[in-house]
Point group: D3
Chain length 272, copies 6
């Protein structure tokens, strides 16, 4: 496990042969009055760092030598047009698509065959999933497998834990993200976290009129004040539980991706 930016090119080439490259992506965008612009990037990095630590522990415990994991520098900018009304540094969908295409293509040119993107921002989700699918289907991608997840979609809840809500969506600048930030970066959460008066009707993007129906109304983010739910009930203990569950989930997802895509000659290596 290593940082690509700290490796020489020969080390990158060696790791690419059988290893997995992991690209964290995030955003810089308004997160209400109490969270910093970098929240999504910081949380993706926090979950990933914990997941890699779990995998490293497991590896030294099991003696199971996994493929090398090389972490790329996080892309700190995402697709946030819906937050420019307050403050954000946003790439257009076309630009973010081009960035992901270029990064994936560079990695393959540099010898990498297995790549995973780990996302921290809801607005990047479709762009990321579309990009990895399209990239793997390219005629030039023979032998390549690419995966992608948003950190909140891969989770692992131990029996008996009730801290977590059933919803799979992290919301925006509300209870979920604030709890996580109180656990991961408490110094960056402005206290006290203000209570949020419910907005009526609740925003369509968060409460679609019918399940499965994506709905976007112009100006809705400004109308509801930039967050999806009340963050004042967030606490650090819950945040740690939520964070750990996602880190365990991501660790399992990485291990499962490794197992499903491990090249044959690596396995034969392990036979010896």
């Amino acid at each position: 496990m290593s940082e690509l930016s700290e490796l020489t090119w020969r080390e990158v080439r060696a790791a690419g042969d059988g290893g997995i490259a992991v690209l964290p992506i995030g955003s810089q965008e308004q997160h209400a009055a109490h969270l910093p612009l970098g929240t999504d990037t910081l949380l993706a990095q926090a979950v990933l760092a914990r997941a890699l630590a779990i995998l490293a522990d497991k590896e030294s415990a099991d003696g199971d030598e996994a493929g090398d994991i090389v972490t790329l520098p996080a892309l700190p900018y995402g697709h946030s047009p819906h937050h420019l009304f307050a403050a954000a540094v946003s790439l257009s969908a076309a630009t973010l698509t081009a960035v992901l295409d270029d990064i994936l293509a560079s990695l393959v040119t540099s010898g990498c065959r297995r790549i995973m993107v780990v996302n921290g921002h809801g607005g990047n989700d479709e762009i990321m999933r579309l990009a990895v699918k399209r990239f793997a289907l390219r005629p030039q991608s023979e032998g390549v497998t690419v995966a992608a997840c948003s950190y909140w979609t891969v989770t692992d809840t131990p029996e008996g834990t009730s801290a977590e809500r059933p919803a799979v969506t992290p919301g925006h600048a509300g209870w979920f993200e604030t709890s996580l930030m109180l656990a991961a970066h408490p110094g960056l959460v402005r206290a006290p976290v203000p209570a949020r008066t419910p907005v009526e009707p609740p925003p369509l993007f968060d409460n679609p009129p019918y399940p499965g129906l994506t709905t976007e109304r112009h100006g809705e983010w400004a109308r509801v004040g930039g967050s999806t739910d009340d963050a004042s009930r967030a606490d650090a203990d819950t945040g740690r539980l939520l964070l750990d569950a996602r880190a365990r989930g991501l660790a399992k997802a990485i291990a499962a991706f490794d197992a499903a895509t491990r090249p044959a000659h690596k396995e034969s290596h392990e036979d010896h």
Copy 2:
């Protein structure tokens, strides 16, 4: 309820004021040995037609005058790069994005304020959801709301029905789509539907190594023969149940979208 292609421009303008424009989109792509290339387009149109019939019945029964619904001509081509190995007529992601942008922009220029896209092809899903969100956020979209769904994500299962599988994904050219086609277009299903030998390992795109992890491996669609599961157990009766549940779901989604976005002056009209 009317077809845009059969209206004069004054009728389109009149319907756009308070009405809802609905755009069906599909694909032309291989659907194994027994289903035609147009399956996705045909099913999106079939579900939409049944949903509109349900709404029309309800309208005449309740005397509840909904906003006009104008159906655009279906876009018969979608994003199918994964099926070109056999046969498909595929638009690139950039092209399909541009088509959706241009259609949405034209509708708003022509006076429409509420638009819904109804999709029949999995490969269009992210592109469509991204397009409608980005479009509604444009500075020029003041007063506009746009929604999108794939027909299988909006459903309505009556109590006691067990015909439907729990999975939300329709698969490709398998049990689900074949059942629907046997119900909607039995003449286009080549009989007998051949059984499909299970492929080991099952394709990553359909069976990701971990829940929530999108995974695409180059060449996987060709390796598994172009379908996701065994279609030979499909039957028309189940297809009718599945089709009706989606039609009822889409009808409810349209009605809910209408209620959530109905312009004020329409409501005041109803007061009289």
Copy 3:
């Protein structure tokens, strides 16, 4: 002769080997107060359907086995920026170009070597002709021939018929298109067709200051009310003559294209 959307992929592959793929394209745009938005698409489809019927009759009469003709689903949207002042669903020139490129490339990838585009909308004409020429010149297009026509440019006037005017241009929403629609889709023509007061000066786009000089003045389409000439003198009998002449012309054009580009091994087949 068959519809691509109703074929399985193996049937498409088989037809592509020696066959001809035909793509109808049209528009959705204002056609004055009496014709529907889909007029251009409907007329391209009407002429093509009649042409294919003529070819089918001839084939069964002559025993001459022509190459298979596979008709793609019509592209119902075209380039209509000049009609957005009233109502239209328009693709930009760049988008329509991309759509045509993607469709042509898909067909060649799926094994097709001979393609013809049949257009129903004047605003698509240059884009279509440019697209087919550029596509056939691609390095990847070895062995490929592509053709294109607007339905009104291929005609066949029998001796003694005087119903047809000398002009090759169909105008817009005037005598020509209205006559055709009265023949092809009388139920969609709003009656009575209003007479049109001549506009002075006549629009530059229809009456260029000098023959051969394309001229476009901003706002001209709105100034002249959205049509080029008086439609009130249109009648269904003339429309049938006009329609038949174009259908015969298109049938002859398809047959001539087939003869000029038939692959050698097909001919040798016929020797037996």
Copy 4:
């Protein structure tokens, strides 16, 4: 009448107010063994220079003060992908479109309201006509009129002249262009002009299977040796007649464009 490149910006601004900007465009592409790469550009410039001389003579004879005509530097590069098999400097269709858009937009930003493009290369024709139409329809083009012609489409044949063939197409590197070059730039025609053996079948791009059907077959230009017809019968006297007819035609086209689009305040000036 003046050259834009020799004017100061105040002179350009003054001429733009009521004047006409004329942009010649051409190509650099193979013209068989006897004509230079710049033939199309040189002929467009030759016809335009003669047309402007005719207008200048007429102006001083009639005392009729036309609007100022400002000639832009010729764009010496066009769209010639079909000649790269031998030698050409070709802009892609997208690039040439962008160049024309940028030039037209700059002229309007600099105060010009009436623009004409004069083309010397067949491969530019659709791109140019499409560009001027689309440009004039832009929302920002209020008050703007744009026109376009290829020099061979505007002609004026005096009574009794039989030198000219009936065909409207100039062919490529054949009798027509060679005659014109012998008249306009005899020093650049390599003598003797070689006779050309007829090619069987003749190229589809020049002899479509049916009138009105644009047809392009891959590799056709190389197969037929880069020209459309026999240039050996060309002569300078005929070339002068052909050239003069086109120059008179272009002069009349410019005058007609001026008359049809002259701004009102210019006319009221003429009242005094």
Copy 5:
């Protein structure tokens, strides 16, 4: 002085009013056998951090309250097509241009009026300078000033120092960059730094045939082994001198930019 990613949106808005946003950009690309891929990003960040420390010291010493400086997250990826032969994560010129455009536009939308880009990678230089100039000239950029430098182009050499070479170019992975890395990140330099056999002829990109002539030969970077000069003579003491001179230079450049562009109302504030 603060990090944008740690600020809330209200703090970003407040800082943008009169402050300066600074965006560091770098690369991930091969730097021979002894330096890590992230070298350019790390050095841009090191010089910027030292420059900001100098400004902070000066501010507290002088009591001179400069405008707020907000540092954006570094863009860790640049334009490195010339290093893909070994290993790099490279954005195309079009993608990097789009990223810079989007970031600059977001900052202006979020209220910022003064922006500076600080670059660490030679391959980004033209793209960056072009981007900031074009951006400031946009019609929407009224009141905006943008600046850009590569860290080695702004320097400040104290009297009597001879450690620095006269050349303004930092080379690539040679004496200059290695010295800087030995000063800034000694732990990331693989020791011993191998000596480099001179390559004959030296690469054209680093030794153009004539001063002022940019020259690029295909394959040159691979031929010369990925570095421009011998790094084995690099040492940490020289590196510190070089680094300090650039940090002082950048501090002076920022202060000069601030003075030249300080908005009037800030100055009047200071009068009180």
Copy 6:
């Protein structure tokens, strides 16, 4: 030495084998009240013509047979968004990039392996240098070398000449360009050249706050009246010295480029 536009394609192919293609590029943009819009194009052409004359003289004197030099038609339009406030015909950066890419690609397709771009307009400089570097790095550019300079960056000042200022920048419409135009095209300089009142503060684009810092402030070109310095002291004698020094410099640069990139088989030819 020859003009590409006057060569047949066989002559272009022959010259491309071992020869050098030279592309002059310029602009059409305001040059204050006394210089014409085409100044930059005219000066690039003037310097290049003199440089080629020097090389031709040297060649006939030395008997040294250099590679053929083929001059392409000048691209008369450049990137001038900063001059549209007065008058200019400007290509966007994306369009100019596309034009250069297409021209370079066409030349290589037509057999050329050595290309040099000679620029006359400051606004083209980064775009040009970036384009040639990126082009040479393309996978398809094996065996290709491309160079680029702006005419004022390659100079050759004889001993004892003091006429020239130390600055390497030509400014805009000031002393330098006016002197050159008085030498090269005196008839196009409007006399008397007006004196220019100094502008306070001087424009940031010409006087950056710190050396090495590119700085652009919105509206600066209009504020300072469109020129960088006082042109009234310009004279023709100095202009001739400046022009000759650049012509000698460009001649030396072309000869050095030729020597550095001459293909091996050409040299072996010379051995005989």
